[in-house]
């Protein structure tokens, strides 16, 4: 009896410890959120929220705060990074999980996972010393620090996320599904494209969205190669937007936070809030995609 009692007690203590540590992570998140919101709040005494988002005039010295050009630059780099990174990532995942011999597959996966652990400042440094001159020569433009260069670096940076999550999603497809398809006389390629990918759809989509989130939130590498020019990207023709420098939402915060104060500082925190809202939207979509995936399996 006594022993039983002490076992129950250990169980209770364990539960408390788990609960305590869970609280720490939740509180940390809440603290960041509340802190950012509170710091952003003073801005909206000066500038109305619609103007803040839709105006492309950002001039702290004249107390004008509009982030539209940064929103556009962030969206442009994220879209192009995904257009490049997602197909490359998905096909790499297919290669790793379906086609490559075991040894080569684990080597490629290992290499891709190393990509994930390289600090972003190194990507930025690589971008600055290799990609920037390359882009400059390739298009014969005045400067290689462009939104295009930033998109290329971001494409590289989202690869590990897309590859490793899509690979696990494909590997998690039950063998019976493969066999069912092959037994009907389907080729391996037909089986992968028509059966396995649809089956792994929710995991693969999640990997895309997480990659998208990473591209949107990346700061250091983008700042080093994007030029950070405070101007609205010219959207027509689109090459004009990509072959010029631009400043993303993250870039805006890091460029000015060190010396900002007062309303200016609040405007930078508000930029952070906008970024946070974007990331939340992506996460809500991820949750929905996952729930759908669960419902069908």
């Amino acid at each position: 009896m006594k022993r039983m009692h002490s076992k129950l007690r250990i169980d209770a203590i364990f539960k408390t410890v788990v609960f305590f540590f869970t609280c720490i992570s939740v509180i940390a998140l809440a603290a960041i959120l509340i802190f950012t919101l509170l710091k952003a709040l003073p801005l909206f005494k000066e500038v109305n929220i619609i103007e803040f988002i839709t105006s492309d005039v950002w001039s702290p010295s004249t107390e004008q705060f509009g982030i539209a050009s940064f929103v556009v630059a962030s969206i442009l780099t994220t879209i192009l990074a995904c257009l490049i990174g997602i197909p490359v990532g998905l096909y790499t995942a297919i290669f790793i999980s379906e086609i490559a011999p075991k040894k080569i597959a684990s080597f490629v996966l290992f290499a891709v996972e190393i990509l994930a652990s390289i600090p972003s400042v190194i990507y930025g440094f690589f971008g600055l010393t290799v990609m920037v001159p390359f882009v400059q020569k390739l298009f014969n433009i005045r400067s290689g620090t462009t939104l295009f260069t930033a998109s290329l670096i971001l494409a590289l940076m989202i690869l590990p996320t897309v590859v490793s999550l899509s690979t696990s999603a494909l590997k998690a497809v039950p063998k019976t599904i493969d066999e069912g398809s092959l037994a009907l006389g389907a080729t391996k390629m037909q089986t992968i494209m028509k059966t396995k990918i649809p089956y792994a759809k929710s995991g693969i989509l999640t990997s895309f969205l997480l990659g998208l989130g990473r591209a949107l939130g990346e700061t250091m590498a983008v700042m080093l190669v994007a030029g950070n020019a405070n101007m609205m990207p010219q959207l027509i023709p689109i090459s004009e937007a990509y072959l010029n420098g631009g400043r993303t939402l993250t870039g805006n915060i890091i460029m000015e936070l060190a010396y900002a104060s007062g309303t200016h500082e609040a405007a930078l925190f508000a930029t952070g809030v906008v970024l946070f809202i974007f990331v939340c939207l992506i996460n809500i979509i991820i949750l929905r995609v996952k729930r759908k995936g669960v419902a069908h399996s």
């Binding site: 066999e179 092959l182 037994a183 009907l184 006389g185 389907a186 080729t187 649809p198 759809k201 399996s297």
Partner: protein
């Protein structure tokens, strides 16, 4: 004399160093149901999977001997496994419909072979579902996801999917082990109808099932065929002592 569909000669199969099938010699007759029985790990499923070359998917498998299907050795390197699998269909232990509509599940195989004509596909879907006694249950919801069906319906869908390829042979690997008794009964009735048109091999752990559905029975033990005869003889008058012990439930 009945036609012989598969003539198996000196078939050996190794997984690495482990020999899973030992010198099998057996003639499977066409348009009959042949049951493969025996305790777990005796090689009956492995044997079944040699008939449509599904063992090719396993790493480190080595096969020797011959399996002549209508006189052609299907173990030969020259055999196109894709062609073979369109002629030798398979139904698995666990129903494995694809995550798509009922219609698309049936049309999957023909589409993989390049059939695109909607009319032809419609016909194939209807006739296959009718043949699997599923048409009346699902004709109004062909565009619904197949994963929403009951287990028994899913398994009949898998049979319909195999039929859609107009195969000559259907291999069934414990097709009812995941189903309840009523769904099992329906599948067994279906097998009885299908044997007119197809050669059927069925792996089963249920003695009752083997005796109910099959015409011939092969008893496997430790990778060997201990006894092969008409089901009637195997169950009423087994010649081998091991067979008798197994079918009367004394081991296995």
């Amino acid at each position: 004399m009945e036609d012989i569909k598969f003539e198996v000669k000196h078939l050996n199969l190794y997984y690495g160093d482990f020999q899973a099938l030992k010198d099998l010699n057996i003639n499977i007759k066409a348009n009959r149901v042949t049951a493969l029985i025996g305790p777990s790990g005796c090689g009956k499923s492995t044997f079944l999977r040699t008939l449509n070359r599904m063992n090719d998917l396993v790493d480190g498998v080595k096969i020797t001997g011959e399996i002549n299907m209508d006189g052609k050795n299907i173990l030969s390197d020259k055999i196109n496994t894709i062609d073979l699998r369109t002629k030798v269909g398979m139904v698995f232990q666990k129903p494995n419909p694809f995550p798509m509509s009922i219609y698309d599940n049936i049309a999957y195989g023909p589409r993989c072979q390049g059939v695109k004509d909607k009319k032809i596909l419609d016909e194939i879907v209807e006739s296959s579902l009718k043949a699997a006694a599923l048409w009346d249950d699902v004709k109004d919801r062909l565009n619904k996801n197949a994963l929403g069906m009951s287990g028994g319906q899913q398994q009949r869908l898998c049979i319909a999917r195999a039929i859609a390829m107009k195969p000559e042979v259907i291999l069934m690997d414990e097709p009812t082990s995941a189903l309840d008794p009523i769904a099992t009964q329906k599948i067994e009735e279906l097998i009885d109808i299908l044997k007119k048109d197809y050669t059927i091999l069925i792996v089963t752990h249920s003695m009752q099932q083997a005796s109910r559905v099959s015409d011939d029975t092969a008893f496997f033990l430790l990778g060997e065929i201990v006894e092969f005869d008409s089901t009637l003889n195997i169950f009423s008058n087994p010649k081998n002592k091991k067979t008798e012990e197994y079918i009367t439930g004394r081991f296995g």
